[in-house]
């Protein structure tokens, strides 16, 4: 019904003001049609009720007038719908005015009870034609009222005319402000529409971008050989790539949207690895890497927290890499190195022992040349042993098997045994080895004597190797209540600045010509650095070409409980 009424009232125009006026006009046309019909019925009923026989001509006039008005309204309606709102409105107003002229006597219209009728076209004109049209109808109405008045001998009623114009002014002003308000409203609406359209567009674009991005990410995830699982904050898997399926031999449906805690209860995971994964879940603070045994596979696991661009923690991403082959190779390698080192050391020990016995003249006196030869055999054997020890240490460290055993150590004894090992070598080279301990270094501290010794021997050996004259100086020093240090400085060749960043690297040798003279695998400093790291210490080096080098090590200072008091008091 409503739709049907709307269809009748609708006008084909794109101008919203025009549309509003023409719809209003249509409503008025129907209103007037209804009023005319009701008027006609009322008159007919009235004449029947009062038994007043109206003359035939009166009835004909009434019917003719009604038909004429109905046709006029229909015509205006058609003009309004198809042709022009302006012309339709003008015609309607003129029709209305014309009807009013015939509704009452001339006296009453000009100066009496029906005078108010003329205010209607004035007001309506401002609404359905144009705001300023009210003045036109004020003028027309004034002219009609004047004409009607004159026809019955009345003079022009100045008050009525000025009243018409005042009314026209008021109508004009209100219609104008109404239109202005509507215009503002339309502007606001248009702006709103535009903003909504823009936002919608932007949203659609960003969704598109996200879809493309997600597709690309999925493609990347699918194509990498590492297994990737993305977890939310509660460690529920939200994404997993096909590689995970192959690695864990579990269908993806049993991984995605399941909690990681359930997954690691899987019987193929060995118990040690399970506790590592639990530790990862419970203490997920740092990016970490470790290995697990899953079925017959060794997998390396690395996990990292994921943050959104606001810096909020949103989950974790865990990457699994099949490490089975590498782990086997590594195991074989360290086994190989261990066996080789052991098997090499036993005959070397025999060579060393026999040459010592020879040198010591166990089986009878030897001459000087024989003595020197035995000495050379011993020295070279010791060098070879040193190299094998370095290799073994390196292999142990790579396998993570090197451990630090903390026991009470006397710093003074460290220097004593350093001298006992190095003095002969130093003497042969014709340089000097001096050592000192700062006063406030505690007499006993906790440390791994053998490894500290190894660090000092390696550093001094290295210093001697590159020092042709002058001295090598070792100093043990106190830094603070929780730090002490060891320093080895020399007056040797120095290290080229460009080499400084690399000297602690495994198998690194500064200047290959010098190494050919001095020998070594380039493992000494690398082992020192790794041992210092194992002790949670730091090492740095300062060097100037042709002036010498200084290695400075800082280590955590832990003093055995029983001597803390004495040391503090001292």
């Amino acid at each position: 019904m409503k739709a049907y009424i709307n269809q009748i009232l609708d006008v084909p125009t794109s101008d919203p003001d025009d549309a509003r006026r023409r719809r209003l006009l249509n409503i008025m046309l129907f209103g007037v049609l209804l009023a005319v019909m009701l008027g006609l019925i009322a008159i007919v009923l009235d004449s029947i009720r009062s038994q007043r026989s109206s003359s035939e001509s009166e009835m004909q006039l009434l019917l003719g007038g009604t038909v004429a008005v109905t046709l006029g309204i229909f015509g205006i309606y058609q003009v309004n719908r198809r042709f022009s709102g302006r012309w339709a409105a003008l015609s309607f107003l003129l029709l209305l005015t014309t009807i009013f002229v015939f509704t009452d006597s001339a006296e009453d219209l000009a100066n009496g009870r029906s005078l108010f009728l003329f205010t209607l076209p004035i007001t309506i004109a401002s609404l359905i034609l144009a705001p300023q049209a009210s003045f036109l109808f004020a003028a027309i109405s004034s002219a009609i009222v004047a004409w009607l008045g004159m026809s019955v001998g009345l003079s022009i009623n100045v008050f009525v005319v000025s009243g018409f114009f005042v009314l026209a002014l008021v109508s004009w002003l209100s219609a104008r402000s109404l239109e202005a308000a509507l215009q503002d409203l339309r502007a606001i609406n248009a702006n709103l529409d535009r903003v909504v359209a823009e936002r919608t567009q932007a949203l659609a674009e960003s969704l598109d971008r996200e879809r493309i991005e997600a597709g690309r990410n999925q493609a990347i995830l699918n194509s990498i050989a590492d297994g990737v699982i993305v977890f939310d904050r509660s460690w529920t898997a939200i994404l997993a790539n096909p590689a995970v399926k192959g690695m864990l031999e579990i269908p993806l449906e049993l991984i995605v949207s399941k909690n990681f805690r359930d997954l690691i209860e899987h019987p193929r995971l060995n118990p040690g690895s399970r506790s590592l994964l639990y530790a990862m879940i419970e203490h997920d603070t740092q990016p970490i890497g470790f290995r697990i045994e899953w079925g017959g596979k060794t997998l390396s696991v690395s996990a990292a927290q994921v943050y959104n661009n606001k810096g909020e923690y949103i989950g974790n991403v865990t990457v699994f890499r099949d490490f089975t082959r590498e782990a086997e190779v590594e195991k074989l390698k360290s086994k190989f190195v261990a066996i080789v080192s052991h098997e090499l050391r036993t005959p070397l020990n025999a060579i060393l022992g026999y040459s010592e016995m020879f040198k010591e003249a166990v089986y009878g006196p030897i001459n000087e040349k024989q003595f020197n030869m035995a000495d050379r055999i011993m020295k070279n054997t010791q060098r070879l042993l040193g190299l094998i020890n370095d290799l073994l240490d390196q292999a142990q460290m790579e396998a993570g098997k090197m451990t630090i055993q903390m026991r009470p150590v006397k710093p003074a004894e460290l220097l004593d045994s350093l001298h006992s090992v190095m003095d002969k070598i130093i003497q042969d080279k014709g340089v000097q080895l001096t050592s000192e301990i700062d006063d406030n270094v505690p007499e006993i501290l906790n440390g791994d004597a053998a490894r500290l010794q190894q660090i000092l021997v390696n550093l001094v050996n290295n210093a001697v190797k590159f020092t042709d004259q002058g001295s090598v100086r070792v100093r043990l020093f106190f830094v603070s209540e929780d730090t002490w240090g060891m320093e080895v400085s020399d007056t040797g060749h120095g290290i080229p600045e460009a080499e400084l960043p690399f000297i602690f690297e495994t198998f690194h040798q500064v200047d290959s010509a010098a190494t050919r003279v001095h020998g070594g695998f380039g493992l000494g400093l690398s082992i020192v650095k790794q041992l210092v790291n194992l002790m949670n210490g730091t090492i740095k080096v300062q060097s100037k070409m042709n002036e010498g080098s200084t290695f400075i090590i800082n280590l955590p200072l832990v003093v055995p409980e029983e001597i803390v008091e004495n040391w503090r008091n001292a």
Binding site: T346, A350, V362, A450
Partner: protein, 124 residues
């Protein structure tokens, strides 16, 4: 007190060198080359004054001889026990249970000088 030193070492050359070092300072040297023979010797023969025990032996490991025989029998309470090993970590593990731990390579002079100090006073 006996001045016998028992060398338990499977490598013939090392045993030879150790024996020369010990003989050099006046010990009577006995040598066995595997764990089983060492066990028999310790259980049946007279208690040596000093034993030089290699930790890596065929048949019965040196560690087992130490824990299951030497540490179990009162007779060995006063015997000087020196263990020899190429594995420094293993040596560290036994440092509290024996008199000396020597890490291979072991120097002839070092062993000779050490055992000279350990010899029974009446013999030196």
């Amino acid at each position: 007190m006996s001045d016998t030193a028992l060398i338990i070492e499977d490598d013939e050359d090392l045993a030879n060198i150790f024996a020369e070092a010990l003989r050099g300072v006046g010990f009577e040297v006995e040598h066995v080359a595997d764990g089983k023979k060492a066990e028999e010797r310790l259980k049946s023969g007279a208690v040596p004054y000093l034993v030089l025990l290699d930790m890596h032996l065929p048949h019965i490991a040196g560690a087992d001889i130490l824990t299951n025989i030497i540490k179990q029998d009162e007779r060995f309470a006063k015997m000087t026990v020196i263990i020899t090993t190429a594995d420094a970590r293993m040596g560290e593990a036994y440092v509290d249970q024996v008199d000396f731990v020597l890490i291979k390579p072991i120097s002839f002079v070092q062993l000779r000088d050490l055992t000279a100090r350990l010899k029974p006073k009446d013999q030196s």
